[in-house]
Amino acid sequence: MISVSDLSYGYRDTPILTDITLEIPKGGVTALIGPNGAGKSTLLSLIARLMPLQSGRIMVDELKIGTCASTDLAQRLSILPQVPEIAARLTVAELVAFGRYPYHKGRPGAEDLAQVETAIEVFDLQALAHRSLDTLSGGQRQRALLAMIYAQDTDYMLLDEPLNNLDIAASRALMQLLRQMAETHGRTIVIVLHDINYAAAYADHIVTMKEGHLGPCGAPRDIVTDALLRDVFQTDAKVRRLDGKMLIDV
């Protein structure tokens, strides 16, 4: 379980997050949604210790962010940032292999190599394995980065808008894979999504945010309503139900 308590974060005088207290249950897919500038990426970055905490407390299971050893956390939690920097000259296989670094610290064993192999297969990258990253399209590069996080094999995965650059087939494949990882391997996946349709269709749990505050949280069928779209997103889109599924106007 990830538990966040009394978390505030600001840049100079501008508050970005105000008094966030939140529990993300272990296992399942939790979607973080909200308008641009709501503080979703900041929250994710703070949980993944990419930025130092200013006030408040974050626990990932028994590990306290800010004091626990970074390398212990790297075996428990992984993050895919929104705009990952990229070392262009690496090949796909080399990049994915870095996912195992927290375990082998530079000396990969047979098990590490097998995990890398699996990650490359899962993300359908075999044909691209020896291409260098700067020769790939945005979507292919995104898949390579996802494969690296997958190879890291952590209980918690934080993904900041992973559907950027992915076409509909790759987006659906990724969401189905995340669901399967959550269901069969008990993984906890926290994912920032822009498209509420994806959140409604694939998440077990939705956390909404607006202007640095938490909005309604709960199962998609309980909280995705016309009122939520109006209050949180300030749009008059309607939620339609079709064959037991929810569809939001676009």
Partner: protein, 314 residues
């Protein structure tokens, strides 16, 4: 592929070393071999120091154009030595055992490098242009202060620091070879030991944190290593502006790889080949009096401009 190229580089270096030791030898071998051997050892140390310092710095700065020399590291060392002579006077300066002044200058260098460049590298928002400008301005500041101090002091005292201020390869001061070798090999060993961590750091700040590293601590460790390596090489042969840039760019060309286990030896071999081979060629074969530093800086300077222009266009 890389192993074959590294082997080829080692072979070429072996030929260069043999040439350096035996060509144009007049007189008894029992004198020539130890005499040239000490200089050769110094050249090799300098070569490895500069290539390793540059490679480490570029990994931390995530930039292939910046080098410790361009950022003014060696100018900083020359300034420290000059100011020491300026404030102590050459008599006092020379009265202190050479080892003590050397180690003190080294300690001051490490501290100053951490203070000046540490803050620059530890910013979370990377701004290459600002870093580069700050480096160029700091370098100019160090050089101006140095030349100001040299103008103020006694011409006799100036002779003491002149040795440290100009690049030279044929008159190497081998008195401190033992201590320098120890320091330098220690730093090189440390760099080799963190080679896997360097690979991860090269991925960028966020990826490095995700994989469990602390980029801030790593940057400080690397800055200390770079300061020691630059100080040792500057103390031996003076500042050589573009050698690091030249040899690390060549290493990326000859052995294109993201792995420091390959890049570190590759850059060191190319660097040693450039210095020893260049010195043999200029001094022993062509019999030219042109200093090798001029040739290296000429080629390196052209490369620097070329890199700058192609990066700008992209």
């Amino acid at each position: 592929m890389h192993a074959k190229r590294l082997a080829f580089l080692s072979l070429a270096l072996g030929v260069a070393i043999t040439g350096y030791m035996v060509l144009g030898a007049r007189g008894s071998w029992s004198f020539i071999l130890p005499f040239r051997g000490a200089k050769l050892a110094a050249l090799l140390l300098v070569a490895m120091s500069i290539s390793t310092a540059t490679l480490l710095f570029q990994t931390i700065a995530r930039n292939r154009i910046l080098t410790p020399s361009i950022m003014g590291f060696d100018a900083l060392y020359v300034m420290i030595v000059t100011l020491a002579v300026f404030f102590l006077g050459s008599r006092n300066f020379l009265a202190i055992p050479e080892l003590v002044t050397y180690l003190t200058a080294l300690a001051v260098m490490v501290l100053a490098a951490l203070l000046l460049f540490g803050t620059l590298l530890l910013q979370t928002r990377e701004d290459i242009m600002r870093m580069m400008l700050t480096g160029v301005i700091l370098g100019a500041l160090f050089r101006s202060l140095t030349s100001f101090a040299t103008r103020m002091i006694d011409p006799n005292e100036y002779a003491v620091i002149q040795v440290a201020s100009y690049a030279r390869f044929n008159q190497i001061d081998t008195d401190l070879l033992g201590v320098s070798a120890l320091l330098c090999l220690g730093a090189l060993l440390a760099a080799w030991r963190i080679r896997h961590r360097l690979d991860v750091l090269a991925l960028g700040r966020e990826a490095a944190i995700n994989l469990g590293l602390n980029p801030r601590r790593a940057a400080i460790e690397v800055l200390i290593l770079v300061a020691v390596l630059v100080a040792v090489s500057t103390a031996f042969v003076g500042p050589i502006a573009f050698l690091g840039l030249l040899v690390v760019s060549l290493a990326h060309l000859v052995t294109p790889s993201g792995s420091h286990a390959i890049l570190l030896p590759s850059a060191a071999l190319i660097s040693a080949l450039t210095l020893v081979g260049g010195q043999t060629l200029l001094d022993r074969v062509l019999g030219l009096s042109t200093p090798l530093a001029v040739v290296i800086d000429f080629l390196g300077g052209i490369l620097f401009l070329a890199l700058l222009l192609t990066r700008m266009r992209r």
